[in-house]
Amino acid sequence: MTIALETQNLEKQFGGLRVTRDLSLKIEQGARHALIGPNGAGKTTVINQLTGVLKPNSGRILLEGQDITDLPVHKRVLRGLSRTFQINQLYPDLTPLETIGLAVSERLGHGGDWWRRMGTRSDVNGEIADLLARFHLLDAMNEQTVTLPYGKQRLLEIAVAIAAKPRVLLLDEPAAGVPESERHDILSVVGSLPRDVTVLLIEHDMDLVFSFADRISVLVSGGLLTEGPPEQVARDPQVKAVYLGEEAVNV
């Protein structure tokens, strides 16, 4: 088996608080891996270290076997590690067309073009059109993002991450805050991601986790509590204990 993404003894402290404790994770190529844990377990902090927003105090991060611990955010993206955010991080003044167009341009190395006009490269245009269609955003492509309904914004959030053609995709609570009626779009999009893309899903919604993931890691107080296939994790008494009082684990 090939390991797509790996952390080795990752350690992060905010002042005296250890938010990531000696975390070693291995995510297999093509896996649907979920990272779960109660509120405050440090899930988002892990994501932020994986993507380079935060630097770990110690430990290493490997992407397809290569050390990326010291790479800045944008270089990790170009190496094939992309993410969505728990809270939408979009460009309020830009349209979906521009938003996705930029991501595609950057990936193809045209992002620094300062003379050629946007929209004059047919390869870029083709990809934009595909993505807009796939994410049901064609009708809204010229609307300012800030004016889009929340569900559409959520789709755009995921579309932007996909536009970077990641080999490893980190989904931070993709369905968070999406109304029931629009949930289906999001889930079908997430479900239809190509199998060669490795997905690490951070999620609160246990239904989604157990329907989607083939492997689950449970994070508690910044450390790894247990890891295994969904059935095993669901039966684990330790996991049940952690989730008692917060949310019962039902399969």
Binding site: H74, G112, G119, M141
Partner: protein
């Protein structure tokens, strides 16, 4: 129409020339012929417009605030003055470019200080750099002429053919040509993927980095380019007035520039141009009515603009024209309509 070419069509929507833009430049050109006695003030407006366009590039597109943009204006102004005074580069257009490059070097060097930090630090750092340069210019009076400024600058004919005349006619058309060329260049740049990435950075630097945009490098690039523009504006000042004194670095110059952009709006390139016209007009009108207190009225106008146009602050000058167009041509003329509806 296939989805792909459709996307290309829409992506270039903003880059296409609109009738309003053509009309704008024709009116500016017409002013050059309609008011032959007003060349000096009109040239002044053009210089201010170019200077404001420079600030718009970093503020309106990349979201970098600056209270010290006069630093680049000043360097350009002194560079042009020294080049002419010592006969190093006699031909004005070439001198203009050299002066712009001098400011550009300073812009590149200081960009590393400016891109780090938040708005407040940026305000302080840019302000500090301008004050520093002003003090340096005063200290090295053997080069700069100190508080007297550079005196006795004699400008050679433009391109060796067109001499500067005492009515300022040559200066006006020279400035207008420079402004227009640099506007065309800026227009091209802001509609490129690079220009779009600046807007993305302004909107959300976190996400910008998360799609692979090298945020710092892009900010350095645009800051350096803006410094060139400001330097050229400063050089135009020296070349068309034949003086360069310490006030090119003055804080008021940087602060006025902010007002110009607030009046004209940011992020569509015309803000600086329209703002410069309105700002100077207001200054003229108010200083004729009440020479001592004109700043009071400018202040009042600003407060009103900010209060009334809070939502539309960026482009409030387009608000009324859009209303008119809506009345005449219906809503579709203003708001882009998806292809499927037409």
């Amino acid at each position: 129409m296939s989805a792909s070419s459709d996307v290309g069509h829409h992506a270039q929507r903003q880059a296409r020339w609109h009738y309003g833009e053509v009309a704008f430049w024709l009116i500016v050109l017409a002013c050059g012929f309609a008011f032959p006695t007003r060349y000096l003030i009109m040239t002044d407006i053009l210089r201010l417009a170019l200077f404001a366009m420079s600030l718009d590039l970093i503020l309106g597109y990349a979201g970098i605030v600056s209270l010290g943009h006069a630093a680049f204006f000043g360097v350009g102004a002194y560079a042009a003055g020294l080049l002419a005074l010592h006969g190093i580069v006699n031909e004005p257009v070439l001198a203009l470019i050299v002066a712009g490059l001098a400011a550009m070097v300073l812009g590149f060097a200081t960009s590393f200080l400016v891109i780090r930090g938040v708005d407040l630090t940026r305000l302080m750092v840019t302000l500090g750099i301008a004050l520093l340069l002003e003090a340096l210019a005063e200290r090295f009076s053997n080069i700069t002429g100190g508080t007297d400024g550079l005196q006795g600058i004699e400008m050679q004919p433009i391109l060796g053919a067109i001499p500067f005349d005492m009515f300022g006619k040559a200066g006006f058309f020279y400035s207008l040509s420079v402004l227009f060329l640099l506007f065309l260049f800026a227009r091209r740049v802001v509609h490129s993927p690079f220009g779009l990435s600046l807007r993305a950075i302004k909107n959300n630097p976190l996400r910008a980095a998360a799609i692979g945009i090298p945020v710092n490098r892009r900010l350095i690039a645009i800051y350096t380019l803006a410094a060139f523009y400001a330097g050229v504006a400063g050089a135009l000042f020296t070349q068309t007035t034949a003086i360069a004194s310490l006030d090119v670095f003055a804080f008021e110059r940087s602060a006025d520039l902010m007002l110009v952009l607030v009046i004209g709006g940011t992020g569509y390139l015309y803000g600086g141009l329209i703002g410069a016209v309105i700002f100077r007009m207001l200054q003229e009108v108010f200083s004729t009515i009440t020479p001592q207190y004109w700043q009071f009225w400018i202040g009042l106008v600003l407060v009103v603009i900010v209060l009334v146009g809070r939502q539309r602050l960026h482009r409030w000058v387009l608000y009324v024209p859009n209303l008119v167009i809506k009345q005449i041509a219906g809503r579709k003329a203003v708001v882009a309509v998806p292809e499927s509806e037409t």
